[in-house]
């Protein structure tokens, strides 16, 4: 059964920061590309998309060919075009930077090609090979699984995804900042992957609705693309109760549930990573009276991207560094009123109406336990060969956040694709 998306959701208040190019804009930008030999942008892309080639095809109005060039290397090129940190990847590597000229807007061009070529009514880009008889079960319908399943399906292998949530897409659906990607766009991409022959069953949780031993028996391979678990808690006094949210849970609620009437008020975001920056920025854009990021070390140690932090600052987000949370303060009714922190040893109270915790997510011990031989490392990540996703169980492969602890969508896509290529090669 297909789940229905609520009409009014908070995320819809946030518009695209980088809207779709018009055809003329895309051509003009594509024409600027130098078409470098052995281009550095390709090497900077975790999926090694042939960027100069897809851009050249936009310049010649071969949009269909451009999209195929992208999808051959990155099946989720549609969402990656919007969510990739291009400033530190392909665009950051553009030779124009060395010339102090505006680098080519590769992400926006990729968005143009992939979005135009997958519009309703456009002819299919790829035709799957005849069935091979091989079957793969994939756990989790996030980018790693979707890429893996899609590439497997194109080679004629049956790919069945089991997703515990009501919606497929993983973080693309539940966790991407809305000014980059709205839920319906993420679901559009999921449908596009399904159209390649991928089967997705939602509401199926591993260990509850499906079991490892059955999958190992019924399928030729199992792929674990389960991402990360629940938001980590601070475990300090006053944490339990209204007003304190895990960051990814809060983002998911904003993206997927009906808009609430409640005002955001004063918001504190604990953490210094990209999720912290995202949630801070989103709260600011949704009308919070005040948004402050609270980080325990100095600004230079933050793991979030500088260009994202810059964007957050422009939305009015403040940053308090060297601050360690000590306790949440609540009034007699239990309503959150503040967060007590120590800054360089001195205690102070930051008043607030809401706190989002963006300090990491728990790991998936239960998942690994379903598959004999699959091991976790010290960080709680599944141990897998980065080249092909192979785990300690010869039939089980894995990729994405659950093996790397949380990287970009494009890294998850590369993982999924590499496993699909590996299996396809092995089954030839």
């Amino acid at each position: 059964m297909k789940s229905v998306l609520p009409q009014r959701r908070d995320e819809l208040q946030l518009k695209d920061k980088k809207p779709l190019y018009s055809a003329a804009e895309a051509r003009a930008e594509a024409d600027r590309c130098l078409y470098c030999q052995d281009a550095p942008c390709i090497k900077a892309c975790p999926t090694e998309i042939d960027i100069p080639t897809f851009i050249k095809k936009i310049a010649t109005d071969n949009v269909r060919g451009s999209a195929k060039t992208i999808f051959e290397q990155n099946l989720l090129g549609y969402s990656c075009a919007r969510v990739c940190p291009v400033e530190v990847l392909c665009v950051g590597a553009c030779v124009y930077n060395a010339w102090h000229r505006e680098p080519i807007q590769i992400g926006r061009l990729q968005r143009y090609a992939t979005e135009k070529a997958t519009e309703a009514g456009k002819p299919v880009l790829f035709t799957p090979a005849p069935p091979t008889g091989k079957r793969v079960a994939l756990i989790g319908a996030g980018p790693a699984s979707l890429a893996c399943a899609g590439y497997l399906a194109l080679e004629g292998h049956a790919a069945v995804i089991f997703e515990k949530r009501p919606f497929a897409g993983g973080l693309n659906t539940t966790g991407i900042a809305p000014y980059k990607l709205h839920v319906e766009d993420a679901l559009h991409e999921v449908e596009w992957v399904q159209a390649l022959g991928v089967e997705i069953t939602t509401g199926m949780e591993l260990g509850k609705d499906v079991f490892g031993k059955d999958l190992l028996r019924d399928y030729d391979a199992v792929y674990l693309g389960v991402g990360l678990g629940e938001d980590t808690k601070l475990r300090i006094p006053g944490e339990d109760g209204d007003g304190v949210y895990g960051a990814t849970a809060w983002i998911e609620r904003m993206k997927l549930t009906p808009t609430s009437e409640r005002k955001l008020g004063r918001v504190l975001v604990i953490g210094g990573g990209n999720t912290a920056i995202d949630v801070a920025r989103e709260c600011a854009l949704l009308g919070a009276t005040e948004v402050t990021m609270v980080y325990r070390r100095d600004a230079a140690s933050m793991s979030g991207y500088a260009h994202e932090m810059e964007g957050a600052r422009k939305e009015g987000v403040r940053l308090v560094t060297r601050a360690t949370p000590v306790a949440f303060e609540r009034d007699a009714q239990g309503k959150l009123t503040g967060l007590k922190v120590t800054v360089d040893g001195a205690e102070q109270v930051l008043p607030c109406d809401m706190v989002a915790l963006a300090i990491g997510q728990s790991k998936m011990h239960a998942i690994a336990a379903e598959f004999p031989g699959v091991e976790l490392d010290a960080r709680g990540c599944i141990v897998a060969d980065p080249a092909n996703g192979a785990t300690g169980n010869a039939k089980v492969f894995s990729g994405g956040d659950c093996i790397n602890g949380g990287k970009e969508v494009v890294n998850a896509v590369a993982d999924g694709r590499n496993t699909a290529r590996y299996l396809n090669q092995a089954w030839k």
Binding site: R27, A28, D31, R32, L34, Y35, C36, Q37, D38, A39, P40, A59, V95, Y96, A98, W99
Partner: protein, 448 residues
């Protein structure tokens, strides 16, 4: 400040910039606005029996974001009555006596030429230009390029007009011919006082790939048109220079073909043009472009130490040689400025795939180029390129293998990054000299 005025076979003009016979010179109102903007002369859109035009009639080639690199039209001569045009010509000459007004003419019989010339001269034109160039529409009726492609006919009609004309007669030539010297010399023999070239090149500008009809589309069909604009300039310059070099061509030349700015004009003048005619650039940007043409040419002449534009006419002609007279000993090699290089490696792609395989990347990229026909030289060591912006992406040139073809410098996007530097100056060893001295056979030929 250099003197830009010219005297073209007796036609005087305050500067060498004329409107070519075309839509911008279709009416008195336009020509007067052009003169106000600074144009020195105008060749009136071709007069004759008025025609009926089709719609549409213009097409263009855009390239890599640049609009109208090439342009074509299937428009014919004037669609306005002769009397209207002549009345306006009279008005223009009255108001602008020092500007050049030349009537472009096209008709059939000797008697018609006589009438047309008399009436135009009565209206006060400074000269006549015979349109023997139009490659579409009129040529099927036995006029335009159908005359320009028949030197004997061209000579005969030119001679007729000279019988009747009191003002200078210019013959406008078509480029749609094997050797431009044939019609050019025929015009001289017919008594022409000047030559104008080139007219447009027979062309199909494009195909509408949705309708699968050529462009510019007239309903569900199209026809060949005349090609012009920046894209044709090299062809036009070659033809102008061909005539300017020929000892039989003793009359002035009005250069036409893709002239868009003062640099283009200066090049045409240096190759032998006395005046230049402009159309496409005006159709693209309007009459206002002449301001920079005048200013730029004037500044250029000042910087060159020339006091008049006449001093520039034909100055590049002695620098033209036949291939056999070019110096075989002169040698240049490519030098890459590592500090300017941005690492795009377009030079590597160009040299490896399109030239002589002597530009490499990476320290371990040293290999004998497959091209080498001068065996024995060692591959040059890769130079140190530390501390540059593009770092390891800076390519390097195996200089002993570089043949100095220029391709890398042409494709490099960064000005001044790749320069071609002389390693051997002129020696006087030419192909023709080798033939004379019997040194023209080199190893590897057919008879070995």
């Amino acid at each position: 400040m250099a003197d830009l005025s010219i005297d073209f076979a007796g036609i005087r003009s305050p500067n060498p910039f004329w409107l070519a016979s075309a839509p911008p010179a279709n009416s008195g109102e336009q020509v007067m606005r052009a003169f106000d903007a600074g144009w020195g002369g105008a060749v009136w859109k071709t007069l004759g029996d008025p025609i009926v035009n089709v719609s549409s009639r213009f097409g263009a080639v855009d390239y890599a974001g640049q609009k109208v690199m090439g342009f074509n039209n299937i428009e014919l001569i004037t669609d306005r009555g002769l009397e209207v045009n002549l009345r306006e010509i009279r008005e223009v000459k009255k108001r602008y006596p020092k500007h050049a007004v030349i009537a472009s003419l096209m008709t059939e019989t000797k008697e018609d030429w006589k009438v047309l010339i008399r009436r135009c001269e009565d209206a006060g034109v400074d000269g006549l230009e015979l349109n023997f160039g139009c490659p579409h529409g009129m040529c099927e009726r036995g006029m335009g390029s159908s005359v320009g492609q028949e030197p004997k006919l061209l000579q005969e009609i030119t001679a007729w007009t000279k019988e009747f004309a009191k003002t200078p007669v210019l013959v406008k030539l078509t480029p749609n011919i094997g050797d431009i010297l044939d019609p050019g010399i025929a015009a001289v023999k017919g008594g022409a006082d000047g030559l104008s070239l080139i007219n447009t090149i027979k062309s199909i500008i494009g195909v509408d790939l949705n309708r699968l009809v050529p462009e510019p589309r007239v309903g569900n069909a199209s026809t060949n048109g005349g090609y012009c604009g920046p894209a044709v300039k090299p062809i036009a310059m070659h033809m102008v220079a061909s005539l300017a070099r020929d000892p039989e061509v003793t009359i002035p030349i009005s250069g036409i073909g893709g002239i868009s700015n003062w640099r283009d004009a200066a090049e045409f003048i240096a190759l032998g043009s006395t005046s230049v005619q402009v159309c496409t650039a005006v159709m693209h940007y309007g009459f206002r472009i002449v301001e920079d043409m005048i200013d730029g040419l004037s500044n250029y002449l000042d910087e060159q130490g020339m006091t008049s534009v006449r001093q520039l006419v034909g100055r590049a002609i002695p620098g033209f040689r036949e291939w056999g007279d070019l110096d075989l000993g002169y040698q240049i090699v490519a030098k890459i400025d590592a500090n300017k290089c941005i690492g795009c490696q377009l030079c590597v792609a160009a040299c490896q795939d399109g030239a002589h395989q002597c530009i490499f990347t990476g320290p371990n990229d040293q290999q004998r180029p497959p091209h080498a026909h001068y065996p024995g030289t060692a591959t040059a060591p890769r130079p140190q390129i530390l501390g540059t912006v593009a770092g390891d992406r800076v390519p390097w040139v195996d200089e002993p293998e570089c043949v100095g073809c220029n391709l890398c410098a042409l494709v490099c996007p960064v000005p001044g990054c790749i320069t071609m530097q002389e390693t051997a100056t002129e020696t006087g060893d030419t192909w023709n000299r080798r033939v004379q001295e019997g040194r023209d056979k080199i190893p590897g030929g057919i008879h070995e």
